[in-house]
Assembly symmetry: D2
């Protein structure tokens, strides 16, 4: 019953095999090698477009380096009030950008909607250099509440952003899950909908440490190599990242892994919803389930060895509140989750 | 004839096998796992002391995070004029430290000697806040010219540093080579000689991406977890680093790998020295050979497929100069270098 | 009818005379002079306590340097959602602190109340190093809506902050106005109520450029001289700041200047309130009047030469909203405002 | 006998009078006022060119903000090994630039010569992103050893810099002294010789706190207003700076003040040179005298109340060394220095 996080499993066997097979032989260092070239080509193929691509070892690095490419130190990044970049990555965006600021545009909603952006732009001060001006909008896909933006929703947000010279960054730590869930193509979910730069995370969904920063707007990538080097994220043995991405992307393996996780989250959500004293905070659209349950139930599950996190109350929908004896928990499934885990979990939840 | 860099080979098989074996099963994320615990314990055993240990993916990150733990943004780091941290890591130390400065204390010497430190301290201004004050000394072991500091040399430098409230950092990107070359124990080469914090590099010598920052002075480690997180160097799947270190350190595998590299550098240096028109810039004490040769010879070698770098003229010894038709080159051996490569190289060098 | 800002007048004659009288003679540079010593002594006398004091040229510098002394780059500063440090000082706090973050704890209230702090602490994540942790609370006195915190209110906020190891900073850009308005002593308004460090602004209230950072908790001042120097705020001719503060503080001149401004704001507010189509957004407790009026009225006033700013809608009280044809404006009085200006303004407002 | 620094006197009476006369009346804040406009116009007239101009309160701020406009955080600034920006401004350039690096191109010379630049460019690594690349050259005029670059010397340095896409910054803390000493026009000494941005210091030579950053290459000024605001250097009452510059520049008052200082330095140097046991380290070309004298003589002078600083040994010329009982001292004259001070000093020096 391992629902703590999708980063708590190892790599898929295919990815591991590719690391081993790429280990042989001599290459140049720092990404100037045949494996890195092949991995970049594969990504361009999957996304059906040319793009400038860099690999790094963590999602925090991918997001922060991408954002630092979009804003100057005195500019701001619009985001969701529960964005991972805002809540769970220390002050990494500030560090990488030299002190740029994140400004949440939502207060309670599950996803950023066009009205949030319009409201922001109608009210924010524009008296520079006193007021700060946004130059980036960051959207997580799938997001921190397990919700997936549709290509149409993204397109609308990108359009408003664009009207204000604001670039669109996508935190794709769970991009695979979003693509698998939506049926849209990777291209439709990204550059075709107006995304300028994507942090494509493979770590949570079957790799060990592999994140790609994909610049669809290639002019934004100009300084990236310097930022990556001076932040210690240019690895000398480029084959480590490249082999993981090759193993992950070949034969749609990444979507298989993501679909597996999504399906098990859906099963878990469906069964939880049938319990009379449990309700979902948000629909489970990808591989995360946000559930409100009696605190004794959550304690019973923990005591039985189930792993999951209590989750931030600020992530609740408008008009939703925990009563005194309720808990909000987050359950995350992975490519290794199996139905036994799901069924056990439900069984213990029921038998209070 | 791959003498470009020791980072141009993959991982040793033992290390690779350990990655695979650590891949199974569920753990907590972010280093809170059994593999990370075991790897830290193994390091403490190898160094015969308690220490606070963190893993990161690159030497640049290890060095910069360590240095940022020693100096405030308005303080300075003393180093060799050819230090990797000064010459080859962009402005990473400045980035991580918030703008602290590196101050070279040598101009021509191969290693930092006590006289360099004494000279610095006797002449440098001490009128704060105008003048900057050093709080760290960084020494590479083995260093950028392939030289190894003896425990006695380190002890003397540490003593002078200590008298001025300056902490001692060791850039151990080739620490394995230094230990293997010197016969000293890891402890004698580090904390027993006064090293406060060591960047222990495994990547160049048989791993894929594995660097440890080892705080022998544990109080200096207080803020490290924050610095690592906000710089994107806290990886979610801790087993990646831990398994590499376990495979590398168990059964003295790391020293076997380093000895192999050292022996082949020694063979290469010895044979080069016997060529009448080649001379060594510095003795080859670890796995690097700095050689001065006729430029036609170096061109001939390149055309024959030998890989190596032209090296910085500023690294030459005092009173040594290149004549018009000479080149300074750096040859680096690895755990995979074999005698055929060495012999081929010498053969082509000879037949001009 | 100059109600644009209290920084749009020059210095009072007494302050100007003191600058001139301090101009003669030779001193040491960088604040090591008799004028600076006298000014610091005068501040200690006015505040009835020992304190460590530094002078800088701008409120932004004073606030940001003070805050940088309280938080590490990965920590946060709690503040009001309309705080000047958050809204009107670009990303200065981020710059000076090396990337620390400001977190607003209010959404609509005029002042920070204890419930805002309690609510924040009950909900915020505490999982370091992922979540960020507050180490400072910044309160403006008088604040951006012209409201004054009582000593009791401050004491309560300081107590809650203290329970969470959070230091209390006061942005005293209009501290003189707050003291003059409240009848409390400078000590009661600051350290006796739990303020750890005060940015005492003299510029807006009768000086040309003179701000003091006063550390009542003197241990927090350790690194200040370095931060001030490297940010270019250590002026060589210390007498410039010192003479202004001496002229300003002697014989309660500062409180006379502030009272004058406050009284004219009160008169303006009182007369505005009597207009049937005008209402105050907040009571005018110091020298700022936040008024809601028909947009034609505000246009008529502007056309007649009145100076004032449209103000941020986000600063409105809960349940207060502008209707389509209304404007929120901010009127600020200074030590030079006279009743003719007030009466003219009201006269034009009336005659629509 | 006040030879400690030219920043140890107050303002000239003309400057002080202008501050007083500009104090009256209402203006807009933050430099949007008639005084600031007039001062900028006056500077353009004096320099016979259009330029983008900003005022700040300290030389450290002027230099660092200018340099931050020229280099990205991963680039470098070439400078003299005794440059004020390198030796005496803490780590301000690093702070403002986000971590860019200063690289000295001299080791012993009094001024940067073309050979120093050529030597640097022929030897420095260019393998980005590992090596750092220079984008700015900073020259002090007059420099820290009291030497003045001729327009021809500047032109040659600018030409070499330009060939490497390196911009030229001039630290003009003593620009007035250099102009007065050389007979060249301000234009010839700056933009006509290839200077892209000048920090024009008025503080040391008759003002209280007034520095202008003058962008002759106006495109480089794009971000300056943001950098100035977020570093706390945008003062609200712009008339303070503007009035000082107006008083200083009108009727060539600045050059009168500088000439006075220069002449007294020349007199001092001339008389010192005639003493058999004193020698000048460098010719006294502006208002600084670097003298080597017997230590007992320097002690005798100090005891008699003379103020001056011991100076950095690293600033000595090649082949010049202090013997055991000698001291290097720096004497600086100001617009207030008089011949009595000079004569007294020489008298005491003689009578050992």
């Amino acid at each position: 019953m391992q629902f703590g996080s999708d980063n708590q499993t190892g790599a898929s066997q295919k990815v591991l095999d590719k690391i081993a097979s790429a280990n042989d032989g001599h290459t140049h260092g720092y990404g100037d090698d045949q494996w890195t070239k092949a991995a970049c080509d594969k990504i361009r193929e999957v996304f059906e477009t040319d793009a400038t691509i860099f690999f790094v070892a963590s999602g925090t690095a991918a997001n922060s380096l991408a954002l630092a490419s979009l804003v100057k130190p005195w500019e701001t990044i619009l985001c969701h009030h529960q964005a991972h970049i805002l809540i769970d990555e220390s002050t990494a965006p500030e560090f990488f950008s030299g002190g740029a600021r994140q400004v949440p545009v939502t207060k309670e909603a599950g996803k950023i909607q066009s009205s949030h952006l319009e409201n922001y732009f109608s009210q924010a001060g524009t008296d520079t250099p006193h007021n700060t001006i946004p130059k980036a909008l960051s959207i997580a896909q799938a997001n921190e509440s397990g919700l997936v933006y549709s290509p149409d929703e993204l397109t609308l947000l990108a359009k408003i952003a664009n009207q204000h010279q604001v670039k669109l960054h996508m935190d794709g730590a769970r991009f695979a899950n979003a693509v698998a869930a939506s049926g849209a193509t990777p291209a439709e979910m990204s550059w075709k909908a107006g995304v300028d730069v994507l942090s494509l995370g493979a770590t949570k969904c079957g790799c060990l440490a592999a994140e790609a920063v994909i610049f669809f707007d290639r002019e934004l990538a100009t300084d990236f190599e310097h930022r990556r080097k001076r932040s210690g994220h240019l690895l000398s043995k480029g084959r480590l990242f490249a082999s993981q991405f090759l193993g992950w992307l070949e034969d749609d393996h990444w979507l298989e892994l993501a679909s597996h996780a999504n399906q098990h989250a859906a099963a878990l959500a469906q069964q939880l919803e049938q319990l009379s004293d449990v309700r979902l905070a948000w629909p489970a659209q990808a591989n995360e389930v946000l559930a409100i349950m009696p605190t004794p139930m959550s304690k019973r599950l923990e005591e039985a060895g189930a792993e999951f996190y209590s989750w931030y109350q600020q992530s609740l929908p408008p008009n939703e509140q925990l009563s005194t004896n309720e808990s909000l928990i987050r359950l995350v499934t992975s490519f290794k989750t199996n139905m036994d885990e799901v069924n056990n979990f439900i069984g213990i939840a029921k038998n209070g």
